[in-house]
Assembly symmetry: C2
Homo-oligomer: 396 residues x 2
Amino acid sequence: MEISNLLSDRVKSLKASAIREIFKMVGKSDIISFAGGIPSPELFPAKELGKIADKILENNGAKALIYGITEGYAPLIEIVEKRNKEKNVGKSFDSTIITTGAQQAIDLVGKAILNEQDGVIVEAPSFIGALNSFRSYNARLFEAEVKEDGIDLNQVENLLKTEKNIKLIYTITTFQNPTGITLSLDKRKKLLELAKKYDCLILEDNPYGELRFNGEEVAAIKSFDTEGRVIYVGSFSKTLSPGIRVGFLTCHKDIMDRVVVVKQVNDVHTPLLNQMMVTEYISNYDFDEHIRKSAVKCGEKCAAMLEGAKKYFPGDVKLTNPDGGIFLWCTMPEGVDTGIIFEKAVENKVAFVPGRTCMADIDKVSNCFRLNYTTVSNEKIDEGMKILGRILQDYV
Amino acid sequence: MEISNLLSDRVKSLKASAIREIFKMVGKSDIISFAGGIPSPELFPAKELGKIADKILENNGAKALIYGITEGYAPLIEIVEKRNKEKNVGKSFDSTIITTGAQQAIDLVGKAILNEQDGVIVEAPSFIGALNSFRSYNARLFEAEVKEDGIDLNQVENLLKTEKNIKLIYTITTFQNPTGITLSLDKRKKLLELAKKYDCLILEDNPYGELRFNGEEVAAIKSFDTEGRVIYVGSFSKTLSPGIRVGFLTCHKDIMDRVVVVKQVNDVHTPLLNQMMVTEYISNYDFDEHIRKSAVKCGEKCAAMLEGAKKYFPGDVKLTNPDGGIFLWCTMPEGVDTGIIFEKAVENKVAFVPGRTCMADIDKVSNCFRLNYTTVSNEKIDEGMKILGRILQDYV
């Protein structure tokens, strides 16, 4: 029996996320990991969530343990809609669904929107989980570079002009994964204009936006949306806990109608207990204060890592300087292969995410890499940056 | 802006599960619902799960709240593999993944296996969640009738002979949804022979098999699998809680390799807390005794409903007589439209699932309907069957 003959073409060549593979590896060893993708775990309110879970199952167990509706737990939808409103997200033509993490939201949108060979414009670099999801629907990925103020709009317009059937522009607007860069207000408005002009949709992914430790909030693209062209994705993974797997999606009702059907066949609904836990936490604790504290912590850690880079990195390694979130992006001189440096670093017990895993073409050599500053202690940041700096010296 | 132009063809015509729509409706009213799909909710160990969740988050919170690996929580995989082994499921060439309910397992298989227009043989009637998932990948569905001892093998072989690109046979082997019928041992072996002969895969879905209240266990098709042709799906939804959304999938490593990548882009991993809760429950409580009690309860309720049918239903309504599980299937005389009866029943505060929602062609009139006997009290069963019996009288 030849199993490969019985597999779908669309997933035959799909590669597992290198980040997830790194994650598996570093989970098992004493490596200093700058490869993670979450805020400081000690900030997750584990004890509070434990009490909440116990209380829910004690008093409301039957409700938490049976099937729920696909759209999500109504009180949580209400909370999300209220929080959205504060950002002017969620228009009269929109509705909101609770998803099993923001990853599922992206994947549902991919399935609801993309025909095989449809085009998606993505940022270069971008989030591998989204890239792989689009790939899994046999979409064609087109890249536009991330500049200091976000995605290059000339490149976007050129692609929209020259390529056929581009359905979607995927952008992580604030403290982007993997660069930490924020798309400027002006560019947000112009990107929406381009989407209008060339009749495509924008998927605005914003899991990090609340973790701001510097500067002023920038309005969401969704806040300027007058016709349902923007699909907005958010998450509780970076504020409450990634393991709890609760995110959300806000978009035009006509798109949502399809997204709900796709979610129904996907996992019926997001676990009710998890939705109720998020609801109870936000209803009974000071969630905004919790986020504020997390953001401050992220800022401290970011400063520690930038300090480490200053002390230990060769001068010609360029780093971004994020105003929030959990990542920064390092660019080595042209021609350097950070895939090789990665192997060297892991041998020396430090891990990061090599740049090419964040690109549409993962086989192309990249001179960049992603650093996460939030999952290890300040001491470990210093220690890891020292080791990494020594290794980088050999490649500049 | 014309949103429909921007949707994927594959989901444009997909209809929401009528069962989920019924579920939404009956959740809001005083209807006696025979439309459910879960065992008696009072049997779910809510209090125990509450204590467990509290303990996990108190002692092991950081671990439960961060990202886990896509394959699942290792101790739970171990438990599943051990339990599988007792059924001779899980061969040397297999591996197991934890999924966000069995629905996700089915959906991942669909995505990993099916190209557009590939064929899937399904039972008539079958589980709407699986049918809709296959539809969402633009698969062509072919039906083979469920007889008293399970799927009609002549019809299966005819389809395999005449239709091109049939990749998958989907069967719910034990206490089938919606009929409650169990595929005979002899037919299980022959079905596998057919899959070999025509080189296709079998998706063996077994969420109800443990809820046996009569007769002897029948070996899984998977237990006869010598080459990885059978993909086996199980669930904790019917034994511990559906809302917790934990199921599993056991299949050949070469198929699993693709399933894992598809899950990774779908929801990264099943919520860790939920996986740990199932693990702790099974490790610290008598899970088999809990299942045995649930099965006894299912048997009592089934008897109550069959008794109600005997008392109140017209003589020419044919009912199945399940040895386990939670459903029975009613067949009215030819030409009767149970869709119309459904509307009448709901007006009279009783709900069931009309037969056509369980068919590949949901627009074709059906003279059948599904009854669930486990979600309401024995008194309500009697009351509901009395009302339903009165309505059915008008249609025979």
